[in-house]
Amino acid sequence: MLEKRIVVCLDVRDGKTTKGIKFQGNVDIGDPVEMARTYYHAGADELVFYDITASAEHRGIMIDVVERVAREIFIPFSVGGGIASLDQMRSVLLAGAEKVSLNSQAVNNPGIIDEGARAFGNQCIVLGMDVLADTTMPSGYRVVIQGGRTPTERDVLAWAREAVDRGAGEIVLNSIDADGTKAGYDCIVTRLISEAVSVPVVASGGAGTPQHIETVFRDGAADAALVASMVHYGEYSVADIKRHLHGAGVPVRMDGVDVG
């Protein structure tokens, strides 16, 4: 049976892992390569690196991080943040990433999804969506860009369907309302999108406890759950999460995890 994935997210700024709350006030929390290695050995199923580097001249640092990560971990990982062209996608994929994640750039230029899917295959193209609850939108959710700072006219459901039609092979759905709150994922929007598209949906934003993850798998129909702060600060380990899910009857990869 296909297992539910635990995806550990590392925000990287100028080559350092960082974590902010609602995209404000970031603090450095470690070396991304070292953290990737630790999570790989701890049983993470997949990693995501978001490059939130402020300046263009520091972008090359990210490629170096990706190359070093690729030499040490042998699970899939994706890279997102600021990727706006086929050349940028190619450099990230050739550095060893499995997938690229497109977010604001795809909203501004949807054709980049088609181009990326044609050049590298749908399985390489992840659509990252930041969403905000908004009762004026048909689905009840609005797509926002630039880390949640800029609202768009796009409805979340319509955009998810369009992106998949264009060739996106996976969607990472991040609730700006829930992000950083540790109060649980938004299961309503997650289920809405997961049931509307044929590709896997990764729930993001709001994870605080293993129970939250179980809930988004059951009630949100998520295929994978993204975690960040709940594992970065040692509150829970990947093994804690997996033991909880395994005990609750959710299929997860237990290789390397002590059943306890």
């Binding site: 049976m1 296909l2 297992e3 539910k4 994935r5 790989y40 199923d45 690729a70 030499r71 042998f74 699970i75 899939p76 994929l93 050739l94 550095a95 060893g96 499995e98 590298f120 295959g121 749908n122 399985q123 390489c124 092979g169 996976e170 044929s198 590709v199 896997p200 295929d223 994978a224 990869r253 290789d255 390397g256």
Partner: protein
């Protein structure tokens, strides 16, 4: 010992390369039939479209090179699309494949009500003894990304099975040719162990 990796424009070879290098293998990534035929064992990875991939193989004479290599008795490993291309044909754009193992690559039916592609970690249960599974527990999880799966005619060519709505052949073999639908290079320690087993395998 050199491992040849067939480069035929079917996806990114980087992860296969880094995994083999991490195991200390000497590798030769090439699209030249002559070069590949001088190697000691051969891997052909690949993602993407079966029809496009087989067209490139033919245009470069790599289809004949793979057949000749298999005929030498040296070990050959197909990965992902590589496990479909060894069959007679694929339902994907009605591709004619290499015909090294009798059977067809079929698409997961929409009637299963499951997401396609089958993407993520799933359990691989060996149904036959084979050195490639040495030291790997039955039911260990491997990473999959695919919409088509190998459906060999002869059950004796099935090495392992995986369940996704249906039970399908996730590893197949005939003689010195082994092919896996999942990605050992992205499947953590068990995946690396499988690649090491292939490097140690005498065919």
């Amino acid at each position: 010992m050199t491992v040849g990796v067939v480069d035929y424009e079917a996806g990114n070879l980087k992860s296969v390369e880094t995994a083999l290098l991490a195991l200390g293998a000497r590798i030769s990534i090439s699209s030249s039939p002559e070069e590949l035929l001088t190697t000691d064992r051969l891997i052909f990875p690949g993602v993407g479209d079966a029809a496009a991939a087989t067209a490139v193989l033919r245009a470069r004479g790599l289809d004949e090179a793979i057949r000749s290599f298999v005929a030498t008795g040296r070990p050959v490993l197909g990965i992902c699309l590589g496990s479909q291309i060894v069959l007679d044909r694929s339902e994907e754009n009605q591709a004619t494949c290499l015909g090294l193992i009798t059977g067809v690559a079929r698409r997961f039916s929409a009637d299963l009500g499951l997401k396609v592609p089958h993407m993520g970690w799933n359990q691989v249960v060996p149904t036959a003894d084979h050195p490639i599974f040495a030291g790997i527990p039955s039911g260990a999880s491997f990473y999959f990304v695919h919409s088509y799966y190998p459906s060999p005619d002869d059950h004796s060519t099935v090495l392992a099975e995986t369940e996704y709505g249906i039970r399908f052949a996730s590893a197949i073999a005939r003689g010195n040719l082994t092919a896996v639908q999942f990605h050992p290079e992205k499947s953590g320690p068990h995946g690396l162990r499988m690649l090491q087993n292939f490097l140690d395998y005498r065919g």
